[in-house]
């Protein structure tokens, strides 16, 4: 069996094809959907681990779809950042799948439950699996038009998932989300048109090797960046995010906040620092950094002002995204692997922590029927594990050691000081301090048990509602301890990438 060799690049397609097929089957059968979904995410996780092993032994790889080579055909490729994003998606996706099972069975078993919950579960699985396939396709794709299609898959499934809860507010938020995402992808497509008109190429590696960067290429990059920023919800364009994330079902909020946002950000970062690195100016980087700083502060201020738990967590996403953008102006001096290290650490830590937070918030909402922060006193007595998960995830958001976010912030601070850009230091420290405030404001409510407080007895309790969140929170906390290993993967990926690249147009 020649294609079962470890060094066969065909393994790369597993994380795309398996969730895709599983999603189609889930829609077709509508029975045993959890079994199909669980096996798909398990295979996806194993495939991500396998691809990391493959990267470490064989170096970055590329795969031509149908055997047609790059200028015309579509290529996929694995490198350090791509496999780590796959790992992030695999781990988070696995935990979210388990949690979603607990969440839906809790609601379906609820005596007051209606047929609605059954319907929600029925359509959740295919949408989620197809979204997973789209995300994996985005991380692996090396063709700009193919990236547009994966963005559309992600956008449509994410908007449908956001509307799944059926509340009028969720529907309205999802409609806005769909339109914003559509505007973003149309702008991205216009950028592709400009790019194709000026270069006549779609493959990212070939585009990268182009020396000519005229106004057409720069306009294309600007258009694509604006489209992706809208999808990533950087601050002036974040208006759609908090309502869409806060009103969705808890597993959906976790998916949207942890994974969907990262997809478009990953693409943006790849375009700026790998493909069009030669056309980037310092001013543009500073603009991105400034917007990021605005996002950190504005998101944190809004998060502190919220009265509802899920809205607070959603605004904290707006704030945490800012750190990813502050990395832009600081990455100028660094080499390729270092540039990615901050972003990857931040993205992975945030994905695990934020999904853990949304899961905890969802569990609390399920058991208490509301998420008003004021009235959530003494939750610890009823749901100790959930509160623990929430607290640990909060530690990551604050950026305390040994979390992955600590490593990212440490790198950011040291680069800012090394390149004499001290103002970013102030922003980062202020953002972390405010994160501390909005995390502790909630935790203190959860933990303090006032006198004469009688804890509510919870009749039904599913372990799947609590343990996945705790596991994710612990992963985000301990991510800093495996930092050298992750850096090794990144370095391995990018060093070989420079050697394997073709030296110019065919």
């Amino acid at each position: 069996m020649i294609f079962l060799n470890v060094d066969n690049p065909s393994w790369m397609i597993t994380p795309i094809i398996v969730p895709l097929t599983a999603g189609l089957l889930c829609f077709l059968f509508q029975r045993k959907t959890f079994a199909i979904a669980l096996s798909a995410v398990l295979v996806n996780l194993l495939a991500a681990c396998f691809l990391i092993g493959q990267l470490l032994t064989c170096g970055p790889m590329r795969y031509s779809m149908g055997g047609w080579q790059a200028p015309l055909g579509i290529t996929l490729r694995t490198d350090g950042p791509a496999v780590l994003m796959l790992l992030m998606t695999g781990v988070t996706g696995f935990a979210i799948t388990l949690y979603a099972r607990g969440y839906f069975s809790f609601r379906i078993d609820d005596p007051g439950g209606t047929d609605r919950h059954q319907q929600q579960q029925r359509y959740f699985w295919p949408l989620w699996l197809l979204l997973l396939a789209g995300l994996n396709g985005l991380f692996l794709s090396n063709d700009i038009f193919n990236l547009y299609i994966t963005l559309e898959i992600i956008g449509i499934s994410a908007a449908s998932l956001a509307a799944l809860s059926g509340k009028p507010a969720a529907r309205l938020a999802s409609f806005r989300y769909l339109l914003s995402s559509l505007l973003g992808s149309l702008t991205f497509l216009l950028g592709i048109v400009f790019l194709y008109k000026s270069c006549g190429l779609l493959d990212l590696d070939l585009l990268r090797n182009l020396t000519e960067n005229g106004p057409g290429v720069r306009a294309a990059l600007a258009l694509m960046s604006v489209g992706l920023l809208l999808k990533t919800a950087l601050v002036p364009m974040h208006f759609w995010l908090p309502p869409a994330h806060a009103n969705a079902l808890a597993p959906v909020s976790a998916i949207l906040s942890a994974l969907v946002i990262k997809g478009s950000f990953y693409l943006l970062f790849r375009l700026w620092f790998e493909v069009f690195a030669s056309s980037i100016t310092t001013e543009a980087l500073n603009v991105m950094g400034g917007l990021g700083a605005g996002a950190i502060l504005w998101g944190a201020i809004q998060a502190m002002r919220q009265h509802r738990l899920k809205l607070m967590v959603a605004y904290s996403t707006v704030s945490q995204l800012g750190y990813l953008f502050v990395a832009f102006p600081l990455s100028r001096a660094a080499d390729n692997a270092q540039v990615w290290s901050i972003v990857i650490f931040m993205a992975m830590a945030h994905a695990c922590a934020k999904s853990a937070m949304f899961m905890s918030a969802g569990t609390i909402f399920l058991h208490f029927g509301h998420d008003r922060i004021q009235d959530l006193t003494g939750v610890r007595a009823s749901l100790p594990i959930t509160v623990l998960a929430y607290g640990i995830a909060g530690v990551t958001l604050m950026g305390l050691p040994p979390s992955g976010a600590f490593i990212a912030k440490w790198l950011l601070l040291s680069w800012a000081l090394a390149s004499c850009q001290w103002w970013w230091v102030l922003v980062i420290i202020a953002g972390s301090a405010m994160a501390m405030i909005y995390v502790f404001r909630v935790i203190s409510r959860f933990i303090v048990i006032p006198e004469g407080f009688s804890s509510q007895k919870l009749e039904f309790h599913s372990r799947l509602l609590e343990w996945p969140a705790l596991a994710l929170a612990l992963i985000s906390l301990l991510l800093g301890l495996v930092a050298p290993w992750l850096l090794h993967i990144l370095a391995k990926g990018s060093i070989d990438l420079t050697q394997i690249l073709p030296g110019g147009l065919p």
């Binding site: 149908g66 015309l72 898959i153 008109k197």
Partner: protein, 244 residues
């Protein structure tokens, strides 16, 4: 014809500012677009060079279903996703009661629908050498479906959900299945074995056209089929409002 409310409304300050911004943006983009030299080689030569090996004569079909078939596979999934999304939102607002169908309409539909199916099949078949293909055929099939839907045949409401889902998934699933078979036989995903490309493309196109037709008709129906709960008859449920 009711008057639109904001027909006579003046633009306020923000809107004027935004209009100015958009005009500036478009002018800028227009200037850039006109300065791009038309010298980019494009991929026409690459397609022309490899046309022989693609198994079809039409270059667009060759690009869609051979050179960049992976894009098309994902795009068929996008269409299906829209259906899944719409089914997750609502039940199809088809009328509950039987309505009288005028004999003229019935006759027209009975005459047109088979012809449209025939045209769709022809379009799919001629896609290999001329303009045409799965999407064009699927669009005609979808139009036939819409025609049947608007004429309120009573049997529309009793279409069981499972065959409908099979029809919807058939195209994408068949596409993925062929892709995996190619992986097994040639070691490349969507790398058709030598000499079979033409037939495989035709098969994929036929399956996709069928699915696309059903997809478009289902999107028009606007929700999931509602025959799971036929026993509970809600008293005189009105379909939702028209004006958005």
């Amino acid at each position: 014809m009711p008057k639109t409310r904001n027909r006579h409304k003046r633009l306020d300050g923000f809107q004027r500012l935004f209009l100015l911004l958009v005009v500036c943006l478009i002018t800028l983009l227009g200037c850039i677009l006109s300065t791009i030299p038309n010298s980019a080689p494009g991929l026409a030569d690459a397609v022309a060079r490899l046309q022989e090996r693609s198994g079809v004569k039409s270059p667009v079909t060759a690009v869609l279903l051979n050179f960049r078939a992976y894009d098309t596979m994902l795009e068929v999934v996008v269409l299906l996703l829209a259906v899944i999304g719409s089914w997750s939102l609502t039940k199809s607002p088809l009328p509950e009661q039987d309505t009288d169908i005028s004999p003229v309409q019935m006759g027209v539909v009975r005459l047109l629908a088979p012809v449209m199916c025939l045209v769709a099949a022809y379009l799919v078949w001629q896609g290999s050498h001329l303009a045409g293909g799965a999407f064009q055929g699927g669009a005609i099939l979808g139009a036939a479906g819409v025609l049947i839907l608007v004429s309120d045949f009573p049997w529309i409401r009793t279409i069981p959900a499972l065959p409908l889902r099979i029809g919807l998934v058939l195209g994408p699933l068949f596409f993925v299945g062929i892709a995996l078979c190619c992986l097994f036989f040639t070691g490349k995903l969507l790398g058709y074995p030598e000499g079979t490309a033409g037939w495989l493309i035709l098969l994929i196109e036929a399956a996709c056209a069928l699915s696309i037709g059903i997809t478009l008709a289902s999107l028009f129906a606007g929700g999931r089929p509602d025959n799971t709960m036929k026993k509970i008859q809600p008293p005189a449920k009105h379909p939702p409002g028209k004006s958005l």
